[in-house]
């Protein structure tokens, strides 16, 4: 494969009729249930999201099981359908923990190839009964010793150590943990109990995506998959997370652009709509160009996660760079072109700014992704300066 030429059938970059229908259903549902006021209201609840909506998504629409094979209680579609959901989730800023549960934890289980673990957890993830997350995956560049260690005691494996920045870490029912063992890093499933696992929510910039410090103090855990396959599982899981995040970022950017276009077309100053001024138009045209670039990157990462895993590392890192940059730009213009009203607490723009800034550092900063791409493209000569 020449990494500058995406080897992907063009049709995989465009939406199927089924996917379009799914998008319409979700957009209608979120319009009705996940307005900015709804989102704020649910942020104030203990779990931070609309649990009734979570059940509807899982039950009525079957969102949670889209990318789960039928043998584990899912509907056996692909990641591409899940990406449609995530884009709409990102557009509505829905705070339900789909990313940690149905993307990260579910895919870590699937990639591990551990049938018993899949049978134990995936059916309950697919039907919405269980929330889950991952911990100790770091930024997913596969460099660095695990920060949690696993010991084999008389009653089985226990985990010790601290994992920070764990998505939905304080609320998730199951945590998949990358931990050090004498055989190297390995994955474990831990159902946290307050006696052996202390979970402290972090104060976060983006309240729609909760994070926690998780301290394992001899927490019982079950190995998932083999030690040999663990690092590949972690790496594929985080790349899949990046593809998912890219879809969310597209959704958020799309909202920011649409809302701003609508606003500048009706807001009058100097006796004319501010959207008729070239200075405003050209800024929004630049957002559109960035958004189309990001859509392309996201579509590619999605297609790779679904059907072309060998291209996923390149696609995921490219999408991380492009979609993060686009979301940052789109939300900056969202505030700027709304003027004073866009800078108020009441206006939803800052929720998107927070989401954008939170997302862009979630699975590695842009510099690290560029360095990774350079290495994959043969552009990284060994040098102490890197």
């Amino acid at each position: 494969m020449h990494p500058r030429h995406p080897e992907i059938a063009p049709r995989l970059l465009s939406e199927t009729d089924e996917q379009r229908q799914l998008r319409t259903v979700l957009r209608d549902l979120f319009r009705e249930t996940s307005s900015p006021e709804d989102v704020r209201k649910h942020l104030a609840t203990p779990r931070g999201y609309d649990e009734a909506l979570w059940s509807r998504l899982a039950g009525e629409i079957g969102v949670h099981g889209l990318a789960v094979p039928e043998e584990y209680g899912g509907s056996g579609f692909t990641f591409a359908e899940l990406a449609v959901v995530l884009e709409e989730v990102g557009r509505a800023l829905c705070s339900a923990p789909l990313l940690p549960t149905v993307v990260l934890a579910a895919h870590a289980l699937l990639y591990s190839g551990d049938r018993a673990a899949c049978e134990q957890y995936l059916p309950r993830i697919a039907d919405g009964a269980l929330t889950a997350t991952v911990a100790g995956f770091g930024e997913g560049f596969g460099d660095g010793e695990p920060i949690v260690t696993a010991e084999r005691g008389s009653a089985g494996w226990v985990l010790r150590g601290r994992a920070d920045f764990v998505l939905d870490g304080a609320g998730a029912d199951v945590i998949l943990v990358r931990a050090a063992t004498p055989d190297g890093p390995r994955l474990f499933a831990c159902e946290p109990d307050p006696g052996t696992c202390r979970r402290t929510p972090r104060r976060v910039l983006d309240e729609t995506r909760r994070q926690a410090l998780v301290e394992f103090r001899g927490a019982p855990a079950t190995p998932v998959g083999t030690a040999e396959g663990a690092e590949a599982t972690v790496s594929a899981t985080v790349d899949t997370g990046r593809a998912a995040l890219a879809a969310e970022q597209i959704g958020g950017s799309g909202h920011a652009l649409d809302a701003t276009v609508e606003f500048v077309a009706q807001r009058h100053q100097f006796g004319r709509p501010i959207g008729s001024f070239q200075a405003v138009k050209h800024r929004l045209a630049d957002v559109l160009v960035a958004l189309e670039a990001a859509r392309s990157a996201s579509a590619y990462a999605t297609a790779c996660a679904a059907v072309a895993p060998e291209q996923l590392p390149v696609a995921a890192s490219a999408a991380a760079v492009v979609c993060s940059e686009t979301f940052r730009l789109a939300t900056a213009e969202y505030v700027q072109l709304h003027g004073g009203i866009g800078f108020t607490w009441e206006h939803p723009a800052h929720l998107y700014v927070r989401r954008a800034r939170g997302a862009e550092v979630l699975f590695g900063t842009a510099d690290r992704h560029r360095a990774r791409l350079a290495a994959l493209a043969g552009l990284a000569l060994e040098s102490c300066s890197v």
Binding site: V261, F277, L288, A374, A377, A380, L381, S383
Partner: protein
Amino acid sequence: MAEEMSGIPEPEEFRARARKWLGTVARPRAADGEWGSGSDSVAVFDNWTEEQEREHTARVQEWERTRYDQGWSALHWEEAYGGRGLPAYYEQLYRAEEAAFDVPHRPEIFPVTQALVAPAIALWGTEDQKRRWLRPMLRTDELACQLFSETEAGSDLAAVRTKAVRDGENWVLNGHKVWTSGARVATWGVAVCRTDPDVRKHAGITVFLVRMDAPGVTVRPIRQMTGGTSFNEVYLDGVTVPDTDRLGPVGEGWRVTLSVLAAERLDSGSLGLDNADRALDLAAHLPRPLTGGEQQRAADLHIRTLIQRLIGLRVTAALVAGREPGAEASVGKLYATETMRRTSDLVSELLGPSLVADTGEWGTYAWTEHLLGAPGYSIAGGTDEIQRTILAERVLGLPKEPTR
């Protein structure tokens, strides 16, 4: 080609057949791995003397005629015009295969004739005009240049002053056109003229096809900032054009012009990719380790080449699905001109002094052609600023500037 009579070949089958045919008429392009030898030209605009331009044009025409006569050109055109009635994106499938073969590089007059002017004739021409012009233009026996811009009508193209005055069955044209590529080799010029000075400026325009060898047509080369000559100014002094060479109705010329400009905008998606690839190859072959900053810049350009190709694939995907492409088709030119700038910036970092003083070393000073040529594409075919205004008004639907 009997099997095609029954229907449209599958894309994969089509590509395989294209590859097979190309193998019988052209040599495969030498594979990668010969970095440091061969041509190191990265010129954005061809830079030829008139004699060289004629020679090269003749070589390309010979290749284009071979393609046309053997059924590998004009793919999406009706059979009546020598085409094969295939979906439009088969042209891209063919191009992807052709890129692996050593075929002559097509200077701008060729896409202008085949992809901009011919479709405008198909859209606006009379049956007689289609019969007279389409086959010869698709086969490149006739080449058509654009007589559009004037010194006082650049971005504001509808302000053209070149006058066409009716004289019985003929029109008489007087005016001065600039920035015409290929005027020295073209046999026809598509001239945007004012036929009614008394109506709103967009309403008084008519388009004509002018014989470039007609009495009163004078072509003078323009030397651009690269130091070379790729464009011309064209003087029209009392040039007589028969009414049968008028394209579209009198006073409807602005709409005719817009259809050509739209095709030009959509045709520019792969602009700059070749040189961006070259710059990345340069980074990979540099005889010293990249600095952290260079590595970041190179990775960014690498990402741009990926994205630019993906945008193209998305346009193809929309066409395959039988949909009109959306915004992805309109952003291509702006994205491409930025790629060209970033290419210049990376190369400047990588080469340092050997970019600006000619040491004779392969693949170094040659990059000045890119550096100086790239700004041209942010101006030609609709400036970056005009592209932004088009995106804002036509794609985002923002209100127009108040007219004065």
